[in-house]
Amino acid sequence: MIIDVTVNGVPRHLKSRSGDRLVDMLRKELKLLSLSPDCLQGRCGKCLVFMDGRIVHSCLVPAFKARATTILTFEAIAKNPEVKDIEKAFQITQTQPCPFCRSAKIMAIFDLLSRIPLPGEEDILEALDMVSCPCSDPLGLIQAVKLAAELRNKRKFSREA
């Protein structure tokens, strides 16, 4: 079947079979290789995408459910200045997620900061619960997210002023 979907701002008509997962359709049809179908259970977070503005595990979504939706993947999010804040915060706090989960953690933090500009520890842990890679120290990650929030707010407010 053909699925009409907007991916990263571009309307697409993607081929899919009824049993395909969204992650597989996006990888196969559009070569979006930031996505990886790893655990297939919504644990590892390597397939996180924004579907109609909400972050979801694309391994848990049948491809046909993407019909008439808007999908954003890391490839589009990466151009956002918010992501630069997150990467800068990783650098300053010396909290570098491993290459396997880096984009997933950025997606989870990006989602968090767009909902809660000044997140508390509980909010941060809840957001990072979507990515189960144990590569980085949770305390370091909390520090990095708080710093990313600070950098983001400073950039936004200084621009507005």
Binding site: G19, G42, L60, P62, R67, D129
Partner: protein
């Protein structure tokens, strides 16, 4: 790979028409329970599937003074985004403990109640709260207690050829609410279960006592609940130990898979409820 025919109904009338033509069609809202429980790369689906998540009639929320009514395709995130005054307090906590944010963005209340293999987290809680569900079929609609989604064999009993369209939760406050989730899996496994107990306390007496334990099977003893309702909170310890033993025995007879965590929970709940 077996291919399925996928339908995208726009409203409930179209869903009912699909059900009339094929009573075995799979109605898929979030799909997280069905997709997440499959380890293979390709999802196995029946011959016909209807994607119903975007049907607006199934996503409406209404709050009155007596109850909160939600369309079955309301996602958990949608429920959590309701104003705190609209949401019965412990319901929010139970939902927050389900999976992670990514999962809660797609999983729906209807999907959680209609799982055919086992009872998921919301069933015991809504059963204690005496929530109602509306089922619509080509022959009409009917409301039933959430408790009716449990068959005589204590396993889930989901009516065939019908759609769970609405869930109505009474906004009734309980003085005593106790719930524990057993097992750490994001998805329910053989070791996961929910234990829920609710009661009111008036004039030093326990009233409206409800206790449900569910996993693969569900356990609730309405006659025992009636016998405990009306007991004084200062009931002697010996008698309370008797309640625990009776519950334990009755549930073992009903085929409780592992009574050990259940016994500890029973002792804890009765210890807290009775001073």
């Amino acid at each position: 790979m077996k291919l399925s025919e996928v339908f995208f109904p726009q409203d409930v009338a179209e869903i009912l028409e699909l059900l009339r033509k094929n009573p075995d069609i799979l109605l898929l809202a979030g799909g997280s329970a069905i997709v997440g429980s499959q380890a293979s790369r390709t999802i196995s689906l029946p011959e016909q599937v209807a994607s119903i998540a975007k049907v607006q009639e199934l996503r409406k929320t209404v709050r009155t003074e007596q109850f909160l009514e939600m369309g079955a395709c309301t996602t958990f995130t949608g429920i959590l985004s309701l104003a705190p005054t609209s949401l019965p307090e412990p319901l929010g906590s139970v939902i927050k403990a389900i999976g992670n944010r990514g999962l809660r963005n797609i999983a729906t209340i209807g999907g959680n109640l209609c799982c055919e293999n086992r009872f998921l987290d919301l069933w015991p809680f809504l059963s204690c709260m005496e929530a109602q569900v509306e089922f619509r079929s080509p022959s009409g609609s009917r409301w039933a207690s959430v408790g009716h989604l449990c068959g005589e064999d204590n396993r889930p009993l989901i009516p065939k050829a019908s759609i769970l369209s609405r869930v109505r939760i009474p906004l009734y406050n309980y003085d005593f609410i106790y719930y524990r989730k057993l097992g750490n899996s994001l998805y329910p496994s053989s070791d996961s279960a929910m234990f829920v107990c609710m009661a009111n306390i008036a004039r030093d007496k326990v009233e409206d006592f409800r206790l449900v334990f569910s996993g693969d099977k569900a356990f609730r003893l309405k006659d025992k609940e009636m016998s405990i309702s009306g007991k004084k909170t200062s009931t002697p310890r010996r008698e309370i130990r008797g309640f625990v033993a009776e519950y334990k025995k009755a549930f073992e007879e009903m085929g409780l898979f592992d009574p050990r965590p259940f016994t500890a929970l029973l002792e804890d709940v009765f210890g807290r409820l009775f001073l």
